[in-house]
Symmetry: C3
Subunit: 674 residues, 3 copies
Amino acid sequence: MTQSTSTPAPHLLLGSCDYPEHVSQDRWAAYAQQQKELGLTFVRIAEFAWSRMEPRPGEYDWSWLDTAIDAYHAAGMRVVLCTPTATPPAWLIRAHPEILPVDAQGRVREFGARRHYDFASPVYREHSQRITRAMAERYGGHPAVAGWQTDNEFGCHNTSRSYGGASAAAFPGWLERRYGTLDALNAAWGNVFWSMEYTAWEQIKPPNLTVAEPNPSHVLDFYRFASDMIAGFQAEQVAILRELSPGRFVTHNFMIFEMGFDHYDVARGLDFVTWDNYPLGMLEFFAPPGSGEDVKTHFARTGHPDLIAFNHDLYRGLLGGKNALGRDGQGTPNGPWVMEQQCGQVNWAPFNPLPADGAVQLWTAQAWAHGADVVSYFRWRAATMAQEVMHSGLLRHDETPDRGFAEVAGLDITQFPVGGVPAKVAVLHDYDSLWLYDEQKHSASLSYWTQTLAYYSALRALGVDVDVIHADADLSGYAVVVAPAITLVPQQRAAHWTAAVKGGARLVCGPRTAFRTPGGETWADGQFGPLSELVGARLLQYDSLRPTLSQHVTGDGGTFEAHAWAESYRVKGAETLYTYSGGPLDGQSAVIRHGNVTVIGAHSSELIGTVLAGVLAEADVATTPLPGGVRLSRRAGRTLLQNWNPERVEWNGQMLEPVSFTVLEDAVLENTHA
Amino acid sequence: MTQSTSTPAPHLLLGSCDYPEHVSQDRWAAYAQQQKELGLTFVRIAEFAWSRMEPRPGEYDWSWLDTAIDAYHAAGMRVVLCTPTATPPAWLIRAHPEILPVDAQGRVREFGARRHYDFASPVYREHSQRITRAMAERYGGHPAVAGWQTDNEFGCHNTSRSYGGASAAAFPGWLERRYGTLDALNAAWGNVFWSMEYTAWEQIKPPNLTVAEPNPSHVLDFYRFASDMIAGFQAEQVAILRELSPGRFVTHNFMIFEMGFDHYDVARGLDFVTWDNYPLGMLEFFAPPGSGEDVKTHFARTGHPDLIAFNHDLYRGLLGGKNALGRDGQGTPNGPWVMEQQCGQVNWAPFNPLPADGAVQLWTAQAWAHGADVVSYFRWRAATMAQEVMHSGLLRHDETPDRGFAEVAGLDITQFPVGGVPAKVAVLHDYDSLWLYDEQKHSASLSYWTQTLAYYSALRALGVDVDVIHADADLSGYAVVVAPAITLVPQQRAAHWTAAVKGGARLVCGPRTAFRTPGGETWADGQFGPLSELVGARLLQYDSLRPTLSQHVTGDGGTFEAHAWAESYRVKGAETLYTYSGGPLDGQSAVIRHGNVTVIGAHSSELIGTVLAGVLAEADVATTPLPGGVRLSRRAGRTLLQNWNPERVEWNGQMLEPVSFTVLEDAVLENTHA
Amino acid sequence: MTQSTSTPAPHLLLGSCDYPEHVSQDRWAAYAQQQKELGLTFVRIAEFAWSRMEPRPGEYDWSWLDTAIDAYHAAGMRVVLCTPTATPPAWLIRAHPEILPVDAQGRVREFGARRHYDFASPVYREHSQRITRAMAERYGGHPAVAGWQTDNEFGCHNTSRSYGGASAAAFPGWLERRYGTLDALNAAWGNVFWSMEYTAWEQIKPPNLTVAEPNPSHVLDFYRFASDMIAGFQAEQVAILRELSPGRFVTHNFMIFEMGFDHYDVARGLDFVTWDNYPLGMLEFFAPPGSGEDVKTHFARTGHPDLIAFNHDLYRGLLGGKNALGRDGQGTPNGPWVMEQQCGQVNWAPFNPLPADGAVQLWTAQAWAHGADVVSYFRWRAATMAQEVMHSGLLRHDETPDRGFAEVAGLDITQFPVGGVPAKVAVLHDYDSLWLYDEQKHSASLSYWTQTLAYYSALRALGVDVDVIHADADLSGYAVVVAPAITLVPQQRAAHWTAAVKGGARLVCGPRTAFRTPGGETWADGQFGPLSELVGARLLQYDSLRPTLSQHVTGDGGTFEAHAWAESYRVKGAETLYTYSGGPLDGQSAVIRHGNVTVIGAHSSELIGTVLAGVLAEADVATTPLPGGVRLSRRAGRTLLQNWNPERVEWNGQMLEPVSFTVLEDAVLENTHA
């Protein structure tokens, strides 16, 4: 089950996150050896170890880290080393308190946990580069070091944005570079609205603590600014690592459904991206489409398959989803990784149940099938101190193997070859749209993620493989392109989509598509702005429905109940597929079609599934309607059949065991994309 | 359907709120013309346009506003001009940050939205007068200008009170003027209670951030102080407008259920009052009596008739409800107006459904029947920028007429003559009582508004017209006076009510009546303090009921279940009409009567309705029991029969269409009050 | 019914809390006389009267207090005098604003209510001692003064901890005294975890406003520090009172379920402890085991018997539960007191219902049966001013006797002899465990109190008398020792328990027992750390169950459903009594036994009751299974049979009236402990 480090790995590899500084030195060699014996290839270390690397200003202590890395090396493990900038030490913060970020309530966010820094701080940027350089100089060429992770989980604990201090100071300059003149900014933001026009750049502050809600354009640009600060912060580290650690990869571990920055911008310049997969905690915080307590209970010990899969597909698409063999001569997989994979209970949700038997194996298999080349478990041994003592590891506090360990030991990773995901359907995603949608939701029942996931989940329930890609990404090769909630559609994006449709792609759009301008206003000629001609219609009404109200929608596929949102259209060339009946929208168009473009104005999971099934059929994309909790995922010519239910399910003539998977050599669907 | 501007208008007139500064200048003439053609008479403008009137300190730019007003004038529209003080521009705020208010959490409330000023700020007062003077000098005599609105929606976004800065600085002086000596203040507040006695005026701060709840007397006086600051702020503007714009009216647009200041004090000095009517958002935030999700769902697309009507009746009564013909020689109606009337979806509630078909007409008709002389729709065209893009207008973003436009176009306003509302029943209201009640509610289930509305709604369900008037207002001519929640009854008020009862009026009081002194203490001889003799009883017990507990009440009218509140009395001359049975109040008096005075101690909508029906019958006030959602309102000799239900209702032998109204020439009730 | 003051009182005595400064002086003599006639012995006064004792800095005014005390003395009442430090006056605070505490959000907590001081403030400590000395000099030898209460309700309104100012300044020094070196502190806290290591004492701040959750060890020590500040603050007052008021007792009135300080530490040095018993408010805020709206409704007018009894037993045990005759030659009872007993509705819960008929008598009887020597009602007359006007007293606002007065008048206190509570069962309690448990609950469904009360309530439902004592207290004489949630078990405690078990005691532990080290880490060899040998097992898994999930547990006593928490064990010598079935714990040990030690890993009230019943039977502790709301309590050879239900209950052949009690001369259980 172990891997040779000298030849390219043709299949999924495994790893874990280890913290040698948390245990006594006499355990290091044994841990490394035990990891190797378990079949792990990679070990990620040191992302929170700054106070040990540099105990006092300028006094570096590498001895312990030398010893630790040598121990892994001796055991044949490959090391992922991290810049420790998520946790600047006390001596640095107390010497330079201006590094600390400020929350939206105007309070300085204090030292004593992690991520206590403002990305825009010039002082911190200097120290970030200094420690990165020191590490890279020391370990950049170490034979055990396979690559680098920058920092840790950008944005965690709501840290993407700082509403004072360095960020507040830098924001006006960023705006001046973006707009050139205050007239341009005032016009772009519509500042005339409430007499909000500025006459000097330094009058502009972050959009917090305003008496009423701030201007959404103000918010949008502040979010863009903050995202740029993160990208710039990381780029400085990447440049140093490129210089001093040639031949090693550089990546970052992103988070589930993080909304604080533009992941496409921040990923740019990395070799591949990784993300941290915590299915059970995720379920408590991010409701899947149509979920309630029953869904949370049903999937309490596995997580919801589509919530997890969406993140896999999202991160696979951040850099275009490269799945080639390794780049460093050692076969380091450079498709996406799961850098941290839950392998027992987490500690941060309101309730933290144990995973079901088989869940760790199922998560690992799913990760592979959705493109992961490496799955690395968090963490090797459960911490015995501080904030995360209630979080599990592969080893328990007492160093006995925990349940996850046994599941990893029982896994045959040779059944998981690396290779492409044959998606013929793309779901479009865009952080500007997310920010603007959620800033003015108009309904407490819907959000950008909720709406997007309704479309994604409908596709997955049809057994369809999906690429989640940027709204401006290359669309060639996709039979169907779905834009669930791309509310911000500039001229250029409209042209891009129009070209794709003319090239043969079918486009399906959700409500609010192309409602807004790049500046955050609405199109003065109304939705769909520059997309109007392609869609062959204009917006007539939108209706935000109380949870206790619904709206009938009728068409060839039957009658459906729309919830939360219903918008109608004035067709100008398009045909009406579904019509509202009853209520203020009675008789108006709910779903329209103009050639290869379909717009679904009513929010109904069933309607969405029905319309998508029709479009997929026309596009010759094979579909397989699946029971709840059963999912198909394809990669490298194999199909992963999954049962996420806690009960047996009979499907397609076979009995699927609870929380289990099967790898089918004869792919159910053979077609491969691109 | 259009009005002649040179003769007094005998019926309801219409208007809209327009923002020429939000659109390009080439639209202005067309908009004005279109408004005129729709049948609108008035257009309100410029309340947020300071940054365009004075782009830089002291640099006025009137050219655009000249052009805009001239365009309206050319089309025959009459302009309501606003002082723009709700939105001081950035250059003013950044030069004088001490203008900014401070919230109850001690945070400065920032520039970036609106209403970012402290009413007590001497600096801001100076600028408020300066810009008012500048506008009035420019436009005070313009023939198109019919009148003025001061500022915009005082108190919106919780801005009535500032807990620091200028207000904190002014509060001690206000107290010194009120009390003269600290001994008097300490005694009035009962500061001995927790050793809270002051020995210097400057020791006194606003009542926020105290370790436990502050002294309610401290709170009460801070609220009175803040209210005075608003009245004073406005008075300065009014004085300038009177001087420089003779013959024009001055008004302000108040808000639904706003609690931050004494509306009677602030209205004093205006020609008439106007208010902003948003029935659908109101329903989500202000629960009608006995409401739950079912009520919110039933009236989701119309709003609840009694919530709206209460505000109409409240604002009609602020200045005594004058309904004479116009004062300016041009027939400007000087009864109350609806300055902003929702005419499509709003954008500020958790859910923002479309109004039902017919709702805009129904709201307009109801406004008339409850005394409005003008209804002005918000807004002409939906904004394409900034905070309110999701709010509708008469025109859509793309300038096509929205649904509300069509309803306005279809309205025959000649059926709505101006004239008196023939109310023989008065409901008493008082902001001191509201503040004190809500400061010490003793039950999470009740508030001053909830209790007051229970009585109001019971009257409306009996088909009775109601004046909502100040607790100290002239009571002559009323057959029945209802004091639902007047908890603060000074000697003088008690004498006033006693005189009214002796004059023949019947008085009905709710629980907690006359519980408190003017200083906010309780009467040392207990409830009903100075009203005890009139009531013929004293308070025995009050019981705050959990939502899961109720209390039986039995009497001639049957048995009822009291919820939330039950108080009992020791009669001293009064007779007992209803008695509690079971529980700690078993056998005690629940409803008592002493001559023409009735007190209802138990909170039960059904009991209230039953007791009121009996009193009304005795007083020869005709009642018409109505089904839910059906309402009658009378004005100027006509009766407006309304069906607010989304379904047809058969009533009195006729079929009422959903969301509809009928104006009956033969008034169901002929009697006219005063 | 009145007591002779010169001979020891053989039974429960009564008192009330009075505020002469709140009423005019002409009422004082009458009130005192009326109190005496009602059968009261004690009157507590002056805890909030600083501004009257010292109206201006250094200007004392004792005249009014002289008069008041003399009035009580003349009537034969005995006075409990209070240091007034809960309410420093305005002149002191404005002169020394650094006295004010800082909340966890970083805001200064303002003057205007009470408890507005930081226990660590050197300035305030000086003034606290000065006013204490002045009072003690004046009244220390007054014949009417029976004793002293320090301050009032330490910790009320979340005031145990200040997160800035004086406390923040003192915290590093406290840590340095505790740890000696930063290396020791960094190691004890596990600060390496997130690079949180300190290199200078002054770098350490209170654990608030951190970006993510702070280190639980940091929190634990900050809580210990804050607790020490309270103990030190009080000790300064006690020393002065001992010096200047010889022969008088010194006590403090503690609060229900207060968690802000270590009550054992703070009680040390007092003669006895008292607490403030508000059963109805308590019920709204502290849910009894398994409670929901139905339980809150059922006991809405009595409170839950076990919630109240737990506090009685807790406070009886703070100083070891001395129940001897008086110490001052006047028979002052020196067992625990109830210093404030609700005798009508309170004013501070979301709903504040009236007590049931009989509730005041039942509370008084229960207090006696659980060890109270005095019950003192809050308050004599309902306040007519300020924050608490909605709170009842024995007299109403209008001075008529309220319902509670009548109940007190009807009480025969000679049936309540003082004497020992014959508990053979001890429930262990420890504030360090409470703090650590609640800091990392891992489940929103459980807390330290909830878990502890589940065990306590199970014992009470079996009719068993319980001592609640410190986890390190003397265990001799107890047949059964229950450790429901003692998660922090140092070596020394483990040895102490082991000795008790070897001495014959049976030990029953709940989940999470001995999970943590004194520093707040987990034992590196896992739960049960130093207790492992005694328990004969180690922790295998813990499972935090969503409210919608449960876990089957099966054994000889039947099958049960565990909720919220389930942990399993790897036995090493212990036998398995109950086993999990189904789910991830299938087949694992749920309840284990090793000789006289039993561990219950699953949270289920029924399972706990069943296991405890078995252990009690083996230990020859008589049990009497009781219906819900029926309770037995024994003291001084008598048994108090109580029915807390609002309905009649037939039990043991007799009919128990609603909300009633019976004192049985022939004790159901004769055995007396120690």
